[in-house]
Each structure stands twice: as C-alpha cells, then as structure tokens.
C-alpha cells in the first residue's frame, strides 16, 4: 500500500534544545494516524517539518512518495493547534483566500465553502466577520479552511478541542466521510478517547523521540489482557499492594488497574470483595490512556536515570 508520509530519522534542534530526535514513522494511504504525546513532546515541531514550514536538521521526509515539495504540500490540509484566520475579514473571504492560495478557483471555492458551512451549521454566517463568531464556530470555520481544497492528506492538530458535543459529532462524521473517500488523516492530540475510537495506527512521542509505534490493535494486544475495570462501592486498600496491582487510575467508584506480573485476577477479586461491594469486574485490554500514561512515565524514569 502506498505511503502518504514517511519520516526517517528526522531531527530538529533549536539551539541546544532537541525538539525532535531521530523520529521515524510512516503513514499509509487512507488510514487515520494518531500522533500522540504530552505537551512539549515535539508534535508541533514534527508537523511543521511535514509541511515545509521548517526544515529538519537531518533525516528525510517524503510526502506522497516524493521528497517534500511545494506541489506535495499543496495537497495537504493543515489545521494548526493555534487557530488563526483574519479576524476582520468575512468568513467567506477568509475561506476563499485560503482556498485560492491552494490553487482553487474563486467560484469553486465559494461553492464548496457554502456546502461545508451548511453541513457544519454555519449556513447564515458566510458574510459575518470572523471576530463576530464564538470560539467553537471559529474552530469549525478553521476546519473548513483546512479541507476546502480537498486535500489528500489532512493534518489536524487537536481538532476537537473547544467543540460542543454536537459539533464534535458533526466533525467526526465529516472525518469518517473523508476517510471513506480514501483520504489520509493525521491526528495530533492528547485526547486518548478520540484516538482510541478513530485511529488505525499511532505514534507516541516523548521528548522528541518515538516511544511507541504501530497499529493500535497490535499495540493493545501486545499489552495483553492484563487490565481490570472495576466498579465498586467502599474502600479498596489492595490498590496499594504492589504484589497485586502494578498501576491504577482511580475515579472514586470506578478504577482501571494493571495486574502486577504473576498476580492472579481471581485473587484480586477475592481481596477486593472483602473491603468493598463489587458491581462490575472485567478483565480487558488496557485503554490507550493507560498505555499513554504508563509509557510516558516509563520514559520519564528512563530519561531521568540517564
């Protein structure tokens, strides 16, 4: 299958600070790819290099099978995390200007913009100035600006942040539509629930380095069924017993935990029943959030030891 993006040992340094450190991954055509990592991990720096805003110090980037070029970048749609359009310009003017920069004719840009505005519930706003819109509405306009030229590859940095549930749903549907049309999508986010439901593959980066990479299904399978989801009423002192529990994420009456290596899930349930009323006990694959926290913490320990 054709590769939309190939990053190979890409490194970017700002003065002493290594923002991206020998990062390698590739994105297959038509997949939804999640670029994950805590704040400051080097996500934005990586994305900027993918679309040629900055150049890597070393390593190579290939887009649509060719070395990075303007022609290639024109087929990319970019939704930056820091949203920005011209505040004093009308919505339609903003959209048409950006589409024309990507080579779309004015009339065609207008036609498509109207369709998108309708679809995202912004029908009557085409002639309003951007600054008159609420933050969530501006967000949607920004998304339209990123997809108006029908890019084959979309880079979306935190696309759902600041959207209400209804808008999020509309956006998600739109994305799945685009995926069905064979478009490639890269998500950059730290919202794991979205990634879990949408992404085919992920790359988790921390301190500019790739710490976890691959198809989401395989990654989760690799962790095995070593996780337990538990709904309870009462106290669970066993959570602090390292012989039973390796790590946990407690929500008060719901807890996700990783069973310590060698420990028996059966014994865990017995112990739990002694101190609390158990409503649900399920052995599952770990959630991405668990994997994320686990991996980030591990690499933190590794890097602090080093």
């Amino acid at each position: 299958m054709a590769l939309t993006l190939e990053m190979e040992t890409v490194t970017k340094t700002f003065d002493e600070f290594v923002a991206v450190d020998r990062l390698s991954f590739s994105i297959r055509e038509g997949e939804i790819f999640g670029l994950l990592g805590p704040n400051g991990a080097g996500k934005t720096s990586s994305i900027r290099m993918m679309i040629g805003i900055t150049a890597p110090d070393s390593g190579s980037i290939r887009l649509f099978g060719h070395p990075l070029s303007r022609e290639g970048v024109d087929r990319v749609g970019y939704l930056p995390e820091e949203r920005g359009l011209y505040k004093k310009m009308k919505i339609m003017e903003n959209l048409v200007f950006l589409a024309r920069l990507k080579g779309i004719a004015t009339a065609e840009a207008k036609r498509r913009a109207n369709q998108w505005l309708e679809r995202l519930d912004l029908g009557g706003w085409a002639n309003a100035r951007l600054e008159e819109l609420s933050k969530g509405m501006q967000q949607k306009v920004q998304f339209i600006a990123a997809v108006l030229h029908q890019p084959d590859f979309m880079i979306l940095d935190e696309p759902f942040s600041g959207l209400d549930p209804a808008s999020s749903l509309a956006l998600k549907d739109a994305l799945l539509d685009l995926k069905r049309q064979g478009k490639t999508i890269l998500f950059s986010t730290h919202r794991m629930d979205t990634v879990e439901r949408l992404c085919d593959s992920i790359c988790l980066i921390n301190h500019g380095r790739s710490v976890l990479l691959g198809a989401l299904r395989e990654i989760k399978a690799g962790y095995g069924r070593s996780s337990v989801q538990l709904e309870y009423e009462g106290e669970l002192p066993l959570l602090h017993d390292p012989a039973l529990v390796a790590s946990f994420n407690d929500f008060g009456n719901y807890v996700e935990l990783r069973i310590a290596p060698g420990a028996e899930p059966q014994r865990l349930l017995e112990t739990a029943m002694r101190t609390a009323r158990i409503c649900r006990f399920e052995i599952v694959e770990p959630s991405l959030e668990e994997i994320f926290i686990d991996t980030v913490e591990n690499t933190r320990m590794v890097s602090s030891r080093a």
Binding site: I51, I53, V76, Y78, E82, G84, L85, L98, L101
Partner: protein
Amino acid sequence: MRKILLVIQREYIVRVRTKAFIIFTVLMPLLMGAAVIVPGKLMMQSAGTRHVTIVCADAAVAATMKSELEGSRASDDKEAPAAAEEQHGEKRGTKQDFAVTVESTPSEELRRNLTSMVRNNALDGFAWIEPDAIRTRKATYYSRNSSDFIESSLVSRALRLALSERELAGHGFSAAQAKTLLGPIAVNNVHISNEGATQSNGSGAFVLPFLLLMAIYMTVLIYGLYVMRSVIEEKSSRVIEVLLGSLTPMQLMAGKIIGVGAVGLTQIGIWALAGIAMGTGGFAMAGRMMGDSMKDAHISTTVLALFPVFFLLGYATYSCMYAAVGAMVNSEEEAQQLQFPVTLPLIACIVVATAVIRDPNTPLAFWLSMFPLTSPIIMFVRVSENMPPLWQLALSIALSLATLYALVWLSSRIYRVGILMYGKRPTLPEIVKWIRYS
C-alpha cells in the same frame, strides 16, 4: 508568483476599503493645507483695533505717525503697501488696525493718567516721544502687552517715517518728495534653476517643498507601519501558521510589502488627481487661500514624476525594516519601543529638512541625500527645491537600491524565523543567529 499576487490582492483590498484609508485620503491634504495656512492666517489676523495715544510736542510728527498707523489699514488691498512692508523688513502680511489719539502737551500727570488707563484696559498703549527724539532716536512705547512685537514694531516704523519726513522737510524737500524717498522699493525675486528662470517669491518656494516633504514623510512612515502591523496581525492571530502551509515566508513578505505599497501609490495617485482637478497642481488652491504668497508656486513635472520614485524607495527601505520589527515582537505594544530606532532616521529628516530647504547645497544636505536611510526624503526635498546634478541623483538612487537589496535579504531572514517565534522578545545575539540560519 500566483501566490504573491493573491497576497498582494488581499492586502490591497482589505486596506483600501477601510474607513481609515478613505478618511486619511481626504484628510491628509486638508491637514497639510491647514498646517501651512492656519498659522499664517493667525499671524495675519488682526487682533482688533488698538487704541493708542501718541504723546508728542511736535504736532507734525504726531500727525504723520497717526496717519501712518491708521493708514496701515489701507495695506489690505494688495498693491504697493504689501511690498512696502516686506521692503521694510516687517513680517509679511501682518496688519493691525489702530485708532490713534494725539496729546501735544507732555506732563508727568498725563503720563500717570495714561499709565493708569493702560492698566485699566481703557487704552492699549501710548508712545512717549521726547522733543529731542530726532537727535537721540529714542522713544518709549508703553503697553500692557510688551510681547506683541508686531504692535511695537509698527509704532516704531511709524515714528521712524514721521521723524525722517520731518527731517527731510527741514532740508527743503517737499512732502511729495519725502514720500517718494521714504517709499517702498519692490524687489522681484527671480528663481534661477537648471530648468530656467522663473518668477517666484520667497515663501512660496519654501512652502511647496515643505508640503511635498511632509507628504513623502507621512506616506513612507504610515505605509511602513502598515506593513509592520500587518505582520504583527498575522502573527498574533496565528493565521501565519495556516498561511505557511500554503506559501513561503518570502512570498508572504513580498506580497505584503508590494500590496501595502500599491495602496500607498493609490493614495498618492488620488491626491495627485484631486490636485490636478482642483487647478494647477492643487497647491494653487492653497495659494489662493493664503493670499499671493504662493501665487507663483508650482510643481514641475519632473518633481511630480519623481515623487512616486522616492516614495517607493523610502517605503521599500522602511517597510523591510518594519516587517522585520513586526516579526520580532508579539504585539503592537511591544513593537512601540523596537520601532523607534527604525523611525529615528525618518524623524531626523524632518528635523534637518528646514535647513535643507533653505539651502539645498550644503554638505549636510549632500550627505543626507546620499545616506540610504535619509536619501529618499532629503534627495526629494533637494529635487523639489532645485534639481541637483544628475550624477548626484543617480548615485543617491543607486545607493538606495543597493541598500534595499541588502535590507530585503536581512529582513526576510529575520522575518522567516521571527514569525514562528512566540514569547520572549529576541535579544540582538539571537537575531544575529536567526540571520545565520540557513
């Protein structure tokens, strides 16, 4: 190239349709006219009739003074008297109405009375002329408002004329002869330039280059700052990140500078057209409003043609620097201090401009018209005053273009890095590092 055109188009349309552009286009000529005309009008304006008493034992002297002072009203019709005033070294166009009473018996009591009248506002002033004034050439003028030099100089002139006439009469000259002798002599100013000799008068030749100077200074400064603001706007609204996904920083900066410059040219074009429509170069109207001081003022076609050339040179030079400043900062407030060193040479131009207009051939004028940061303005002032030798004009433009080339290179490097930097304002070593990034 297509992308640069799109940026140009956007910058142009967004700016031209703003109220600010329309207001500035209309207001600028009015403001400039007002800047020249209002002070002049204020100077010329009569501050009401002055009630003055002349105390002089010699009735003939007092009578001549009285008629001279009250007669200065006649200088309203712009014939010989206007020139006479100039001839006598008076401030041009100054006029003052007087109502004069004569006292022929000086006494201490009279002096006290008059003093208290002046103090009580019953009288504006009185001239005390001793009988031996012809010999001593001294007199005293008492007034509340001793700083009104126009009033006292008019009194002084009247006294000088009166005494001289009296003296000439004593030497056997008739009153008519004395009048002729003491009358004004009109000196015609003929301005010799490389384009030939033209009739002119002093203040017109000063006012016109000054107006052109202000026009080029204002447009260079304002459009330069527009570029800076536009850069800051794109940076602070973060639209820059989206744009850079579609075009290179160089395309963006080039489009921006050309687009804003085109707005500037449009504005200048409108002013020029309006000027032509209003009469001979628009300044004729200002001339009419000011009386005849600008009667002979006109702009040659060479000067008119060079205006856009020097505007573009000055604008390109400064907008490059302002674009770099805009890229370095996060907000307009931050830009305030950083833009000052860039604006400094422009302000310097205005400071020395008066001296350059008065004498465009000093070494100072020469060097400033060569130095690339001041040359677009100072050279233009020289051109509008008196065409400098062609080699100087060519050298100045060549130096300016060479500097521009270097500035574009330097600014674009600062711009390219700066537009993506947020947070702390960069230090000078950091900026040097930016320039070195390949």
